[in-house]
Symmetry: C2
Subunit: 337 residues, 2 copies
């Protein structure tokens, strides 16, 4: 038995498109910040007494496609460990309801940590990152805390994440504006594939990312939050331009997304350095220096109810506990990558 | 003295970016439909008794930047004709108030027609098209009726419009959904220049247009309205992806634009062939076969008040009357290009 806790992450330079659908090798590098406020805790037991996988998320049994995806992932762990048993998986998402932030990133990172350890594997964080990647691309980065780079690589061995700055020594912070979507969204998996295949701008996007990775890393080293925010905002808009230019074209923006973008830009026009980013959904995340937090929250609260504004500093990397609740990865422990 | 009437046009393959700012030579070809419902009527008199230009639009005096732009245009006409006098210009826009469709296209086409004739020039329609281009790029196409192609050319002589099908012999029709914008918009002049300079996707956009011009002309020859609509919709979204990917990124969409797009797509999901296009503003224009008009109007009226839905068939090319109110260009008259 093992338990793992992993945080979700928000990309500052986006991952949008796979080169290999099965191994989840991305078309580009990407770079994210792990968020303290949003995480998943997952416990896994491989049990010879089980006659089928038993999976719950937030204490509700999971069946159908959701269960299939988890079983497919556990098959990889079984193959790696030689373990033959079915598993019991109990997972809790610590994400505000309807936030649209319950991404698969924290879920598959936590599952990778708990399942690998429960199966008897003792993986390095780099190998955990590679394993998490098989479940969901963005989970690759959720193994690490702080600011994280995912090297696209060219195969299973070379495509993994690495920390750029695990413990932030400057005031970079994010705020999620919770926006509900009434409509069924296009999954990021489907959306990015459509962009790769049908957007005439996809080849240029790869150059955009290559350039943004360089300037973003330089901005991080310089602790230059306005530069980080500006690059992240442009990068996000250029990703969303891929969805608009796909065939059929579509957008993850809804009415409130536009309102949120406008609110952030109005604050910026007032001289407050804040920037936005968006992923495959209508939520808007604001990037800023924690010194400006109060003014930004006050400003946004003129448009959005305060309970819809969730502040998050950078969060830690994965933590894994063994069957005796002994922390074996994460926290204050040292480890090699 | 001369009077001219010119209709506005909506591009099915968009013009978005200049190669030459002064001569208004575009980066790409473009293709539009002239609309019967929206037009400008302009009377011009060159009068030696005048000591300054006198300009009214909808009976209101025009001064400042608006007047400067018209005077600059009249200077071109004076240079061509040798005329030295100031002009009196009286213009009426027949466009629903706040429609955002009072584009400079019909305005500068009508001004080109009236001013050139009033100055004594007798220009062919091709030369009128070249002259109108100097006032506003899209005015180049408003000299002609029906479906019109603007050849980008490479200089003043080679950049002009030409009709593809002056009198439509199939049911292509448009409907404008009138959407107000409370915010100051980014002018198309400024917006397109920003896209040319800062969008990483601009080079690919030029290839998109080259391809769309071919497929659109083939679809027109085949009278294939679903194909025309599909190409136009994709082309518009790919143009708007340029604004999103510019630095700073921006959008002409507002909340109601998204609602209108959704309404059109819902109708399409119900099996009605309708498509949308948008220009440098929040209004949405719907493209369809006039046989489906009633179902489309009924469907959209569930979301938008009926007075905000303006149906327009294709409109005629420019008409010019001389000082005796004798029609000298347009209507049933023949002319060479």
């Amino acid at each position: 038995m093992a338990t793992a806790k992993a945080h979700t992450n928000i990309a500052l330079v986006k991952y949008w498109g796979k080169k290999d659908q099965d191994l989840i090798i991305p078309q580009t590098d990407s770079l994210s910040m792990t968020l303290d406020e949003f995480y998943t805790t997952t416990r896994v037991v491989f049990d010879p007494a089980l006659t089928a996988e038993q999976i719950t998320v937030n204490d509700q049994p999971v069946t159908g496609k959701g269960a299939e995806r988890i079983t497919k992932f556990l098959d990889i762990v079984r193959q790696m460990s030689g373990r033959q048993d079915f598993a019991r998986v109990d997972s809790h998402n610590h994400v505000p309801t309807a936030a649209g932030l319950a991404s698969s990133a924290s879920a598959f990172a936590a599952l990778a940590g708990a399942a690998s350890r429960a199966s008897g594997l003792q993986l390095s964080r780099r190998d955990l990152s590679r394993l998490a990647r098989r479940g969901s691309g963005s989970a690759t980065r959720s193994i690490y805390g702080g600011l994280v780079e995912w090297h696209r690589g060219h195969d299973d061995a070379t495509s993994y994440a690495e920390p750029i700055m695990e413990k932030l020594d400057f005031g970079l912070e994010m705020l999620a504006i919770m926006i509900n979507t009434g409509r069924k969204k296009i999954s990021s998996r489907h959306g990015m594939q459509s962009s790769v295949i049908t957007s005439p701008y996809y080849a240029s996007w790869k150059e955009v990312v290559a350039n943004d990775m360089e300037t973003m890393k330089a901005a991080i080293q310089a602790k230059d939050i306005p530069a980080i925010g500006h690059i992240a905002e442009e990068n996000a808009l250029r990703m969303h331009a891929l969805t608009l230019s796909a065939d059929p074209g579509y957008t993850y923006f809804n009415n409130e997304t536009l309102t949120a973008i406008q609110a952030v830009r109005q604050l910026r026009d007032q001289g407050i350095n804040c920037y936005f980013t968006m992923d495959a959904g209508p939520n808007v995340k604001v990037i800023y220096d924690r010194r400006d937090r109060e003014r930004i929250v006050d400003g946004l609260a003129q448009t959005f109810a305060p309970e819809r504004l969730v502040v998050s500093p950078a969060g830690p990397g994965i933590e894994i506990w063994d069957e005796n609740n002994r922390l074996i990865i994460g926290g204050q422990l040292n480890f090699d990558y």
